[in-house]
């Protein structure tokens, strides 16, 4: 019997073709037994420390804060080996792949950060990796495509649909339906069918766990708000997990507002709050009146996804977490602000969380401590930024 319920309120579930159910059951078993297996925890702990470089620092961005009343702390997931938080849970799923006796990994990637983390870990553990990536994302994130190939992964561009993350997930699911016997689907975010939302959260929980201890050490108390960007929701749920019970800490997820929430060109399904079923889960989903899935839009490939992990839908519905939107333009401003003020080049994804913190800090009239998850570094986004500047 599974330890975790497949549902978060009305959200979650296992909406996959029947043929994938045994593979998900096998994964649930491997995941839950690993969680309580000291030898698994020890092996993972060693890799997190010596391979990924954890714990990551907590850095107070004193030059960034536009308001002396407001202190902004950055959880530096950009310093994880691979350049983003994605490595944390990929290491765990890599070990689970071995635990299930499988030799191949199937993955999807948007910004390429999950693909890079997967390729790294596959190389290190001696596993074969096939990585699906939307054709448009391959274009936007060329350096990451090249990194994956260098590390021996096969990158498969997906041309169908919008050529972004949603379509890459579809292809990965198709591949898995054909090859579940030999391959593990290493899903990259806290979304998808049960048990992925739990599994990814448990292995990203370390972000918030470290940050909590580091905040206590730095200022002797918890922050007033914990802020993270939300694509599928893995870095955000990793930051939130250990704060959910801390009622004094506001939890804020930042969705990509794209060209603006009123333009229809965005990737903010929580804002729309329309329940639907896609990629194995019931959650908030961008869709038309008949249930056809709509294409999302964001300047950041990693946030360009029309749905969101089910626990975020639940946290939003119950009011435990607040979800706000930041536009492409605001994110770019946040990006530039951090580059100049602190000498840190953030991912455009993370810049959404930063931009919200800056906006909030500017408006603040009382003392406040903000914890921002800097989920990744911006090297992969330099092309995007250069093209933007060239266009201006």
């Amino acid at each position: 019997m599974s330890h975790f319920s497949p549902y978060f309120g009305e959200f979650g579930g296992t909406y996959v073709p029947e043929i994938l159910v045994p593979a998900l059951d096998q994964l649930t078993e491997a995941f839950e037994s690993a969680l309580v297996d000291p030898s698994f925890q020890e092996e993972l702990g060693k890799l997190l420390k010596h391979y990924a470089g954890r714990p990551t620092p907590l850095y107070e961005a004193t030059h960034l804060s536009p308001n002396p009343l407001v202190r902004i702390f950055l959880k530096r997931e950009d310093l994880v080996h691979g350049g983003a938080h994605k490595t944390n849970q990929v290491l765990a799923q890599g070990l689970l792949t071995q635990r299930m006796g499988k030799k191949e990994i199937i993955a999807e990637t948007g910004a390429g950060q999950h693909g890079v983390a997967t390729a790294m870990v596959a190389a290190m553990l001696g596993l074969k990796a096939r990585i699906y990536m939307g054709a448009k994302d391959c274009e936007r994130q060329q350096p990451n495509v090249y990194r994956m190939k260098l590390m021996g992964a096969e990158v498969i561009p997906v041309h169908s649909g919008s050529g972004t993350l949603k379509d890459a997930v579809n292809e990965a699911l198709r591949d898995w339906a054909a090859n579940y016997d030999s391959a593990h689907y290493l899903l990259g975010t806290a979304a998808g069918p049960h048990p992925f939302p739990h599994l990814v959260r448990e292995f990203q929980r370390i972000i918030g766990k470290e940050a909590k201890a580091q905040m206590l050490e730095a200022i002797g108390r918890l922050p007033d708000a914990a802020i993270a960007c939300v694509g599928g929701g893995s870095n955000a749920i990793g930051l939130f997990a250990d704060f959910i019970e801390e009622k004094g800490v506001e939890l804020i997820g930042v969705e990509p507002g794209g060209e603006g929430l009123d333009t229809g060109k965005h990737g903010a399904p929580i804002h729309l709050a329309r329940v639907g079923i896609l990629h194995g889960m019931k959650s908030y989903l961008m869709q038309d009146g008949e249930g056809q899935v709509e294409e999302s839009h964001s300047i950041s490939a990693g946030l360009d996804y029309p749905a969101v992990g089910p626990q975020h839908a639940y946290l939003a519905q119950t009011g435990r977490a607040q979800y706000v939107a930041i536009t492409d333009d605001e994110a770019i401003e946040g990006f530039k602000a951090l580059c100049r003020s602190e000498g840190i080049i953030p991912a455009i994804e993370s810049s959404h969380a930063l931009a919200y913190a800056l906006k909030r800090a500017k408006a603040a009239t009382k003392e406040e401590v903000l914890l921002v998850n800097l989920s990744g570094r911006g090297d992969k986004d330099l092309n995007t930024i250069m093209n933007l500047e060239a266009a201006q």
Partner: protein, 260 residues
């Protein structure tokens, strides 16, 4: 008696199996699609399986995916798709028609409403490609309330417990998936599934129809020889329809001949 029961009874008396071709509704456009449906009915199809186009058809391979895109591109909505079935049933009231759809289209319409609309359009059965047994309760309940047969999938990797539940819940027929993977002829139908068919029948299941990768008359023969009551051909039917109305007619005729 349901149209499926009547069909399987008639075929049993004639010592035949069922041949059920699949097309995506509204591909390449509504009028051509209607012509294709009539061609299948006129050239020996015992029943039809029809896909309601969905933007993200994860259980389908490239051929049906492309058909889906064409249908959506031509403006096919769930309502228009059901309208095609209504026209078809007005012309061929005895022909059993199954609808293949995805969970979000059912959910978006409202689960109860979806099945009622399907019933009103003349749909005899509904298979939801991404709703496994675990999640099937509200879908099955709404199907039964609307007198539409819920069709469940028996995959080749099913445990005995899964097969028992499939046999108990599935009405009209059981869709036996021949192999791992998604629809398409890129991978042929898998090995004989004798033990699964026996197990299902041991649990008193509805007739068992084999699908995925069936593109030639010899595969229809093999399915029937292994104990199936019929065979479904999707991607190969779509490809025949892509060639010409004539090719579609000859394809259905040839596959049906193999079921005799």
């Amino acid at each position: 008696m349901s149209l499926y029961d009547a069909m399987f009874e008639r075929l049993r008396a004639d010592k035949e199996g069922a041949f059920i071709p699949f097309l995506t509704l509204g591909d390449p456009d509504l009028e051509t699609s209607f012509e294709h449906l009539c061609i299948m009915a006129e050239n020996g199809a015992d029943a039809l399986e029809l896909g309601m186009p969905f933007s993200d058809p994860v259980a389908d391979g490239p051929t049906i995916q492309a058909a889906t895109l064409r249908a959506l591109g031509a403006g096919t909505t769930p309502k228009k798709a059901l309208g095609l079935i209504r026209r078809l049933k007005d012309k061929y009231p005895e022909l059993p028609v199954g609808l293949l759809t995805y969970a979000n289209l059912v959910f978006a319409a409202g689960i109860e409403q979806f099945y009622q609309d399907a019933k009103a359009a003349g749909v005899d059965s509904v298979l939801v490609a991404d709703v496994p047994l675990k999640e099937s309760a509200p879908f099955v309940a709404a199907a039964k309330a609307a007198s539409v047969a819920p069709v469940m999938i028996a995959p080749p990797n099913a445990t005995d417990a899964t097969l028992k539940a499939v046999a108990e819940l599935s009405e009209g027929y059981v869709y036996l998936v021949s192999r791992a993977g998604v629809t398409g002829t890129e991978t042929a139908a898998g090995k004989p599934l004798g033990h699964i068919i026996e197990t299902l029948k041991g649990y008193n299941s509805a007739p068992v129809v084999l699908g995925f990768g069936i593109s030639e008359p010899s595969q229809v023969k093999a399915a029937l020889a292994s104990g199936c009551d019929g065979a479904i051909s999707g991607s190969a039917t779509v490809k025949a329809a892509e060639r010409s109305p004539h090719a579609l007619a000859r394809f259905v005729e040839g596959m049906k001949a193999a079921s005799r």
